[in-house]
Symmetry: C2
Subunit: 742 residues, 2 copies
């Protein structure tokens, strides 16, 4: 493949076309686009074989070298005379290539600019600027006149591009064999990555250079002894955070993933390309024109803090699709959950090994006696949550079928409407409502997705009947039907279906094990949360390394909030319930996560009993808001540390957070560190005028995430914007501070 543009003197005018000469002496028209503030520059061109490519620079620094664009599509899928003298349907690897990444000519080029400020329904800030210069390149495949456009949006903080297939052309229904978008990195960047996998994102991060990924891949992934669907020892997931030798932070992800396979990446040295999730036959997307792909995003920031402040992924999503969003609201909640995760209780009600839902007689079955979602236990949680100003309480394991929820590949595994005999759905909701608590529904699907869709309308209607307005859904296990993957187009379509059907019932969705977010919460803000990464639960499954929470905001949270479920105060699970896993975090670290791990749906994950001895520290969880007016990224380095300060959004305050912040200027600061102790002096210039009372929840000097995680100090002092606060964080520690204007 010939590459041009390297030897051009690039014009910095948006959309200008300059003639360049490549190595071979051929002349190529290169289109150049600059970002609104002239921070980033990109080029687009076709090479001598009609291959489209682009490049990306930040001033004098090359970020992406010329990188290919396009597809291999499914060609003829039938062959004559191979078997039975009739046609034979070919498998993907037998189909002759139909390349849609060369042989193009440019039929039109246009540019435009856009600058608009919008307000999310909830978010890290109440106002977001969406400002880009756009380049639309219209291409024709010369051999067959098929049309494809590529739309580039260049921001000061990054690039987005997508493929658009116009209507009224000969390309109508088509199947993708592979998307061939390249991200050809100019340097051997440092990378924080997790392995590409069609079915799970629940990994800790490895750190290496791009060229070093394959060297550490096996060692890193060896720890995961569950079955996996990784595809290559250089395969990684998005959002992936990189750092160039020059110190630029470069992040590759996607935005607005709708009815298309989730994009993974495949690294060939420093040349990265897209690797879509296949279907059961190996195909990678069925499309119909007019249509477009999701946006492919390349964020470029001069610092880690700038990367965290980027709203590029949200900006590339469509505006809110709902006229009425009054029913969508942030939620601070507790849950009958951690005791089952840790092993102190159970989701199931009996020890039966085989349950036919329509005929099994639970009423006369012998309960095993450790079912957590029982009336008395739920009331205990309701009482605690209500007494401490929470909004809601999640209860898992309330519905029949949990005896076979995992590893059974069972089609009719749940009906989503029938409670266990010891869960009085009517009485418990009524009791909760009298105390100002909403119950949060739980729909574990066990990845029997057709079964979920068959029962979805009845399940959502049941929620309406009893006053639930939020559901946590789960997709544990192999997808049924066999052969489909969690991140294939089939499932991407399902996840959004579940969200939009929920919206008709005014229900908010928090989907676990679903695909990683790509900013869709802008368009569908009832997608109030997602797991889609390795969350706190793994503290009970062997533990998370302390650095994990310093990386997630750069990667997983780039696409949307995570229901990380922080707030574990009892790190010793062994004494509690015999679980050998240790929670690798100090209490101060756990408090900080309410600020550093942004989510409008924020959990206090531990049990009332575990909070009881530490109610002074618990005060921070009560006070902290979950929806924000402003956010400041004070200090950050992925894998090392993170300090963030946020100012609540007055309009969405509720419960105990409203008590603390309503009508007063307040700020919350969270800081976390990895396995190393760290100290910072934080300038308080984010505060407004006047004095603030700061309450500092800090690691005690002798605290340590492994040996002394529950040692903390709480101090109050009066501060102002002109001052600083000194922060000390122990290994695996953190700090949480509330500021309230006096």
């Amino acid at each position: 493949m010939k590459r041009a543009a390297l030897f051009c003197i690039l014009s910095l005018l948006a959309g200008s076309i300059v003639s360049c000469t490549d190595k071979t002496g051929e002349t190529t028209d290169v289109t150049v686009l600059s970002s609104p503030g002239d921070v980033l520059q990109m080029t687009f061109a076709l090479d001598g074989e009609g291959r489209p490519y682009y490049s990306l620079d930040r001033g004098d620094t090359k970020v992406l070298l010329p990188s290919g664009l396009g597809f291999e599509l499914r060609g003829a899928v039938k062959a004559q005379g191979l078997e039975y003298d009739g046609d034979k349907i070919l498998k993907p690897d037998e189909v002759p290539p139909y390349m849609f990444n060369d042989g193009f000519k440019v039929v039109d080029v246009s540019t435009s600019s856009f600058d608009q400020t919008w307000s999310p329904v909830w978010g890290e800030e109440s106002s977001i600027r969406n400002n880009y210069n756009e380049l639309l390149v219209c291409l024709k495949h010369t051999s067959d006149d098929k049309l494809m456009n590529i739309r580039f949006r260049l921001y000061d903080d990054g690039l987005g591009f997508r493929y658009e297939f116009p209507g009224n052309q000969s390309l109508v229904h088509f199947v993708i064999k592979e998307e061939l978008s390249e991200f050809n990195c100019a340097q051997d960047n440092k990378v924080w990555w997790i392995p590409g996998d069609y079915d799970t994102q629940e990994y800790q991060y490895a750190t290496s250079t791009l060229t070093g990924i394959s060297k550490v891949f096996k060692a890193h992934t060896n720890q995961y002894n569950s079955s996996t669907t990784m595809y290559s020892t250089t395969g990684i997931q998005t959002s992936v955070q990189m750092k160039t030798p020059e110190g630029l932070y470069v992040n590759i992800h996607e935005a607005a993933l709708v009815d298309y396979p989730c994009m993974h990446l495949l690294c060939d040295g420093t040349r990265i390309r897209s690797w879509l999730t296949p279907d059961a036959q190996g195909w990678k997307g069925r499309l119909e024109t007019p249509c477009n792909t999701p946006w492919r995003t390349v964020q470029v920031a001069a610092s880690a803090e700038e990367q965290l402040a980027s709203r590029l992924v949200l900006n590339l999503n469509e505006p809110c699709a709902y006229d009425d969003v009054s029913w969508i609201h942030p939620v601070k909640y507790m849950g009958v959950w951690w005791e089952m995760i840790a092993g102190a209780g159970s989701w199931s009600y009996t020890d039966a090994s085989s349950i036919h839902l329509d005929s099994f007689d639970y009423a006369s079955a012998v309960p095993h006696g450790h079912h957590s979602a029982n009336n008395a236990n739920v009331r205990k949680y309701i009482d605690f949550a209500a007494a401490n100003g929470f909004d809601a309480l999640l209860i898992e394991g309330w519905d029949i079928g949990w005896e076979e929820w995992a590893n059974c590949n069972k089609d009719y595994v749940f009906d989503f409407v029938t409670p266990y005999p010891d869960f009085d759905i009517a009485a418990l909701n009524e009791y909760a409502h009298t105390k100002g608590i909403r119950l949060v529904m739980h729909h574990e699907t066990s990845s029997s997705v057709r079964n979920y869709e068959r029962h979805m309308e009845a399940a959502y209607s049941l929620m309406n009947k009893y006053g639930y307005d939020a559901v946590k859904s789960g997709y544990v296990g192999d997808i049924l039907p066999f052969g489909e993957y969690h991140y294939g187009q089939w499932m991407i379509n399902h996840y959004l279906y579940a969200v939009t059907q929920a919206a008709k019932h005014h229900i908010m969705v928090n989907a676990h094990e679903a695909v990683r977010p790509t900013g869709l919460c802008r368009t569908y803000p009832n997608l109030i949360g997602n797991e889609s990464a390795r969350g706190t639960e793994y503290q009970a499954f062997g533990g998370n390394d302390p650095e994990h929470v310093t990386i997630l905001p750069f990667t997983r949270l780039n696409g949307g909030p995570m229901d990380f479920t922080p707030g574990i105060f009892e790190q010793n699970l062994k004494d509690w319930c015999g679980n050998d896993s240790h929670v690798n975090a100090t209490i101060a670290n756990q408090l900080a996560l309410y600020v550093t791990m942004y989510s409008p749906l924020q959990m206090a994950a531990d049990t009332p009993e575990h909070y009881a001895p530490f109610m002074d520290a618990f005060q921070f969880i009560k006070d902290v808001a979950v929806d924000w007016n402003q956010t400041r990224y004070i200090a950050a380095e992925p894998g090392d540390y993170l300090i963030i300060a946020r100012q609540p959004r007055q309009e969405t305050l509720s419960g105990s957070a409203r008590e603390f912040s309503q009508g007063r200027d307040t700020w919350f600061l969270g800081g976390v560190t990895d396995e190393n102790e760290r100290e910072f002096d934080v300038a308080l210039d984010f505060l407004g005028e006047g004095d603030y009372e700061a309450v500092i929840y800090a690691d005690a000097p002798d605290a340590h995430y492994k040996t002394n995680p529950q040692a903390y100090t709480i101090t109050s002092k009066t501060v102002s914007a002109a001052g600083t606060i000194h922060i000390d964080m122990v290994p695996g520690g953190g700090v949480a501070i509330s500021f309230r204007k006096i």
Copy 2:
């Protein structure tokens, strides 16, 4: 494998156990069972390796030699250390064998007898006797104590057996790799067969010996140039009709196919074994104990007429599952259908090549002008159907999306509720109802089955709103998601889901392209019809050989009625609409099909214009009933001819059939022949006492299905039970006679 039983003197006492000595001198306990009338005898035994097998005799004639039973199950599906140093999920062909067809011991044997007479909601007769001797063999897999029972039911007209997996054992959730049921034919039988195919049954029949199948397979299947999913050149479908050299008629099929893959067959010489339909990964069924397989049926009859009279498949199904069946009724209908099949009209409304259902503006789209389901045309059909005493009118192509119904693999292809602009659903239903006609809904799914299920509730509700009580559903094209097949467990589950959901709305279902029936209409009698074979539509797609309709009653109809859509009066499609295909049947032959091709849902498929010149012949279609009190199989040989007489069931008469038969003894006779002319003298001993007026619709002497298909004679005469009627049928011809007591 050692085989015993061959050298035993079989006891004819039901369930008796005799000790036999096999070739090697080993002693084996063989259990022997006889049918109630001692017509058939079977044995069951384990061989020296603990392999279960059975055999079947009819008196001195061996039907099945010792035939193996059991399964290969999915074994360990993960292997350590193959890739990425973690677990790797194995593909079916990599999984080590887990044989579940040897190593058994018998832990219990019990026998019982059953004799009951029951009445179907509709059928070929109003009363059916279910009389069998039963043998239940309880087996334990000695290596792992897993349990499997085999239940045999031996009738005078055949054998049914199924596998039952009891609960409360170590086998709970399991996956089938292959079912290993054998049908080891004692002779090289003659076979009327169609190729085994995972996605279609729409074939003409080949005739060969068992050992000759592979020799003619390619030549026979070469005519089908559409893509196929055949699996072997000795793979065939059930229900398959065989004839032994001694003249016994032996038929292999299955009964009560519920949530299990459809069974095909694989022939190895005269040894036939089961071959289940795989899922996308190649597995062949997920089960959970307690559970059972469908019944495997082996019907044995001394004559072709006896085979047609067998009710074994229905008898092996469960009784009706519905308390209230008052809403289920036979239907004689016409349809806005044949004109689209032939090419004179269109299902679609526009020539658009890409339709996004949610945004395409049909109201302002330019119609192509040949959309058949338009208000004026539908009213014309309503008028004709009402004037001639029909019950209902099917209208296809009424709903938006037909522009892309075929070959698009489109997910959201129909919404099943939005009519085209020229189809006034409210007004047309109202108009029809005022004339005593019900409209029949049509749901083509294009095999986008998830999309259908998502819209099913709304679609059925729409039917309720407008007074439809029957739906024809269709499954044309590749199943979505890719990799699933029409006859895999995933789809078998769906078809019954559609039927049981319809029942909640009091809707009858006539599913086309769905799996072949297995008698489920006994349990779910709102499954009023199925296509599931090559029907009349192929007369417009190249034609059907005349013999086709002489074979279908032995094969396809063995499991339940077929919506064959007879009644084509205009065989020359070329002059009508430029279609080169010729309808290979005389008008008399078409009339006969209303008797020979049993269905409680019977169509007059041609257009009002084509019937108009032949209203004297059309009178038979008006008079004939569609539900029967008694049936007599007068003469039959598959591939050659078929003569059947039926007496209407008074309780379900409607429309013009009621006018003809109500309160009077009537009979209808139909006869068809293949490409050869034939004559018969038919004894009328099925008539009651007294005289009857016979109206004989016969081929004219110079009629011929190719050259002169519209030549017929109509004669009336007075007859009685003591007399005979002489029948002459021309090539591709037939005869239809109505008898009415004077």
